[in-house]
Amino acid sequence: MDITGRISAVKRDYLISLAKEGKRADGRDFDEYREIKIDREVLRNAEGSAMVKIGNTTVMAGIKLEVGEPYPDSPEEGAMTTSVELPPLASPEFEPGPPKPDAIEIARVIDRGIRESEYIQLDKLAIEPGEKVWIVFIDIHVLDYDGNLFDAGSLAASAALQNAVIPNERYELGENLPLPINLPPVSCTFVKFGDAIVVDPNLEEEQVAEARFTVATDANGDIRAMQKGLSGSFIIDEIKNNIKRGQIHAKKIRKLLEG
């Protein structure tokens, strides 16, 4: 069984028949997010943190910085790594243990959005070029799971990076400084079931989803990362349309991040 759990046949039929009439069970339009709330600087030990709620989904992102060795192919740059934890606290379907493919996929898609939009200025994170650089750990902890972890996780990571500091004092490297960043990527996720493609799926919509699509765009609306998931398919026009819809949503969500 996957992380979403099983849905009853009656509910599946109901969601699909509603979608045929352009409706969703919680009353939203196909192109409507649930309420998004961002709380920043919620933790003391993390170098940066944010708690994001999308409807009933809650995720916490914490940023930690450590001194480490650079990668051989980028000796003068810092490094970043993104992890997603799905602790059993957040859903009756989550099990303890090392990250499973679902968690790793979410983490890698979020990582690509941040990395490819050059959100973190890694070139400014060298301490002794070739020897010592800052490694940025982005840890996303899911606290309450009601769908759309891709967008909630991405948003939490972006917001947490905005208030992250370089902990120079802890390493006796001088004063703490804000983490150098550019403009954040914004992720937008759709699922398809029946003939409908809806944005920001809640859990029951993920349970009936045949295919999933995530697009991360930068401040110009250019595409920086995409991921198609699940065993269903999209036709090419649907993909194009998803990207255009994603660009419009991202513009609105970006205001929440920058506001």
């Binding site: 009853s8 009656v10 509910k11 599946r12 039929d13 409706k23």
Partner: protein
């Protein structure tokens, strides 16, 4: 009557004066609550009516179940309780050949059934030989805290008739916290909103009037 909320370990009374009812335990001659709930006194019995927790099945309850697994000669059914329940083929309305259970009920499908047996090891058995018992083929099921079901029904089914009157919905309220609704979509949204409000405010007084007011205003 004051609705007094009690917690696990709250002292309720003395065994010389009262009797220990549901949701209580006795220690050194004193009666304590074992649950978070509302204290109720009936014929000298102190009972604690739980405000949360899983469904606790009682023989004779009608429940809405989700088929978990079609086994050789029985179905494993999720009834929202601490344990799965078993529906044997002999208790189904069909003549089922050995190994052909999935032809009648598949995993994910829903039924109305009645609880016919619970033993000490908490094996729960169901039957579909009851008047409302059937396979559920359409409509919507919503799930609420099982402990709030009596409020959705109301005294003498008063709450239920208010919801039915203003929404025109057909409703089946099962003891295990699941409610089956059939009606047009706009009215369905009102009914669901009303049920969610009842669940949230179950511990307050004057709820039936507030629900009626809310539904009347929506209908205008």
């Amino acid at each position: 009557m004051i609705r007094k909320i009690v917690l696990p370990g709250s002292l309720l009374g003395n065994i010389d004066e009262k009797k220990a009812g549901n949701g209580t335990f006795i220690e050194d001659g004193k009666i304590y609550s074992s649950r978070l709930g509302i204290l109720e006194e009936k014929n000298d019995y102190l009972n604690v009516i739980p405000l949360s927790g899983v469904y606790e099945p009682v023989v004779g309850d009608n429940v809405i179940g989700i088929i978990q697994e079609a086994m050789r000669n029985a179905w494993l059914v999720d009834i929202n309780a601490s344990h799965f329940a078993l529906l044997g083929v002999e208790e189904s309305p069909w003549r089922v050949n050995y190994g052909e259970t999935a032809r009648y009920l598949k995993a994910g499908e829903m039924i109305i059934a009645t609880v016919i047996r619970i033993d000490e090891a908490r094996n729960i058995e169901l039957s579909m030989k009851c008047k409302p018992c059937r396979k559920i083929e359409d409509g919507v099921i919503i799930e609420i805290q099982p402990s709030k079901i009596p409020r959705v029904i109301g005294k003498g089914a008063s709450m239920l008739s208010v919801i039915k009157k203003y929404t025109g919905c057909w409703m089946f309220v099962a003891q295990n916290g699941r409610i089956w609704l059939k009606c047009n979509e706009e009215k369905l949204a009102y009914a669901v909103e009303a049920i969610r409000k009842i669940e949230k405010e179950a511990h307050t007084v004057g709820l039936t009037q507030r629900i009626e007011k809310m539904l009347r205003e929506k209908n205008e």
